[in-house]
Symmetry: C2
Subunit: 306 residues, 2 copies
């Protein structure tokens, strides 16, 4: 089991030679998730040798083109390559019509089930969970309704202490209860304290995605204590007015959110094409929050090693 | 003045690491034209250092995604980079709604005039002309209505013979008439034969684009004698059945069209991702038409040097 993030696109609205528009690929306990899908995402997935038919959930933050223009092409290619496994897309209401109308016009019908879940960019809620992970959304503050996301590992099972269990009289059927953290009483009335036979679970890790948004402290409770926070940093301080008027953030503002959220690590992305170097972003952010890096296309981060 | 073709994408429906979906950039006598606009075209234009704000005409052959999914992203980036010069898109009727609805949903309004000209994939006609070039469309035979295109230089001006004109009594105001190929009679009644004072014009070159289409000899009159013919060659002969059922062509079929059309040179593209090598395409085509090449992304061809 692992929790890994691959940056497929780290640029802003205008892609550059080095920075594709926003897209991120996450593997969390064998769940394969795509966040945003800017133009060229399918080529980036291929470039980084990611087997994209494994993706089962696609989260779209908002309907600015640099966050979704690659979606219809990716779905189309999944179909052409023989996909039959369903996929769920979470995003703004209008997305479904945009995607389906383009797929329909080509005259080809998908051989897999394509499901859309509407997000309105106004509420925080759980949008997916299974036995191992949860995905939450919360509102960001941008020019149009925009969704942030948090992916969390659920509390893991306690780990069995083999040496203690051996010759204790515990039976195999008792172990699931111990793993869940419950004490066991066997048929003869013998009591087994969970603390004696298990170690605490491994920690559960979490990742939060915030793009695009202006500086907005109301998101702090949603990203509180995540291991890794990705926050957009379209601008630097000298362009703070521009950040404000376009509902984007500066690197320093992103760092301020990271600090208030007491997160483990801050990743900055969505850098405007106007900046040739990342130095100022990094310098400004680090004055507020030291454990910061500016992401590049192709970067891979182990969330569970933070 | 020049006539140059740059291959931006040479792949078929499923892009590969080396072959992007279809897009071609043409400069013909300083007219800048894009044919098709598969996903990632804006990145390809950037990769090959093409100043894409110069593009004034975009021709879309048909509405399969690998031929137009990059259009909205390109137009969006043109806007974000400050474009104010109008642009005309020629393509199937439904294209306008697809593009405008995606642009509208982002909440941004274009600062340039975006005009759509509808092509129905059923008729051959002149769709654009000015003093130097003409663009024609003609129907291809694919699963959905599809347009082929021919770009032609108009007949050029005759070239003045300086030594003959000097001391001949011809005045500057007489020269345009000579260039147009007309004899001149001056105010005194002196006659000047155009053949004595001008050389014939340089040849006019032409380029035809045929993708996607099944083998269809009815296109031959439209591409007759062009200097360069681009024809799709999605398949090779061993997959001829698949070519037929999907309304595509084999390399040999494309070569047969080139031979019947008595063109100067044949370019093959839109190769299916199933083929790792271009060798069979080339070999099969050359048995029919020797002057053939298989294009790659980034290839540049001088149409006026063929």
């Amino acid at each position: 089991m692992s929790f890994e993030l691959t940056i497929l696109g780290s640029g802003a609205a205008v892609p550059t030679f080095r920075r594709n528009p926003t897209a991120q690929y996450i593997v969390c306990n064998d769940r394969h998730i795509l966040i945003d899908c800017g133009e060229g995402t399918q080529m980036q997935l291929r470039k980084y040798s990611i087997r994209f038919q494994r993706i089962s959930h696609i989260l779209i933050s908002h309907l600015h083109g640099d966050h979704f223009f690659g979606l219809v092409g990716l779905l189309s290619t999944m179909h052409l390559m023989g996909r039959d496994k369903g996929i769920t897309v979470y995003g703004p209401e209008e997305l479904e019509n945009i995607v389906r109308s383009q797929l329909e016009i080509s005259g080809d019908r998908l051989d897999f089930d394509l499901k859309f879940v509407k997000l309105n960019g106004k509420e925080s809620k759980l949008i997916f969970e299974d036995n191992l992970i949860e995905i939450h959304t919360f509102p960001l503050k941008h020019r149009i309704p925009t969704n942030g996301f948090v992916i969390r590992e659920k509390t893991k099972e306690r780990r069995l202490i083999s040496d203690a269990i051996k010759d204790s009289g515990l039976l195999i059927e008792h172990l699931p209860k111990l793993k869940r953290g419950e004490n066991v009483v066997d048929e003869k009335g013998n009591e087994f304290d969970v603390e004696d036979f298990t170690w605490p679970p491994h920690p559960s890790y979490s990742y939060a995605f915030c793009s695009d948004t202006r500086f907005d402290e109301s998101i702090v409770p949603h990203i509180k204590n995540v291991n890794v926070l990705y926050h957009e940093a379209t601008f630097i301080e000298k362009d703070a007015d521009r950040a404000k008027s376009t509902f984007h953030s500066t690197a320093k503002q992103a760092a301020s959110i990271a600090k208030k959220g007491e997160v483990g690590r801050l990743l900055l992305g969505h850098l405007s094409a106007r900046y040739e170097s990342i130095d100022v972003h990094l310098e400004e952010a680090k004055t507020i929050f030291e454990n910061t890096c500016v992401v590049e296309d192709g970067d891979v981060f182990r969330i569970d090693e933070e």
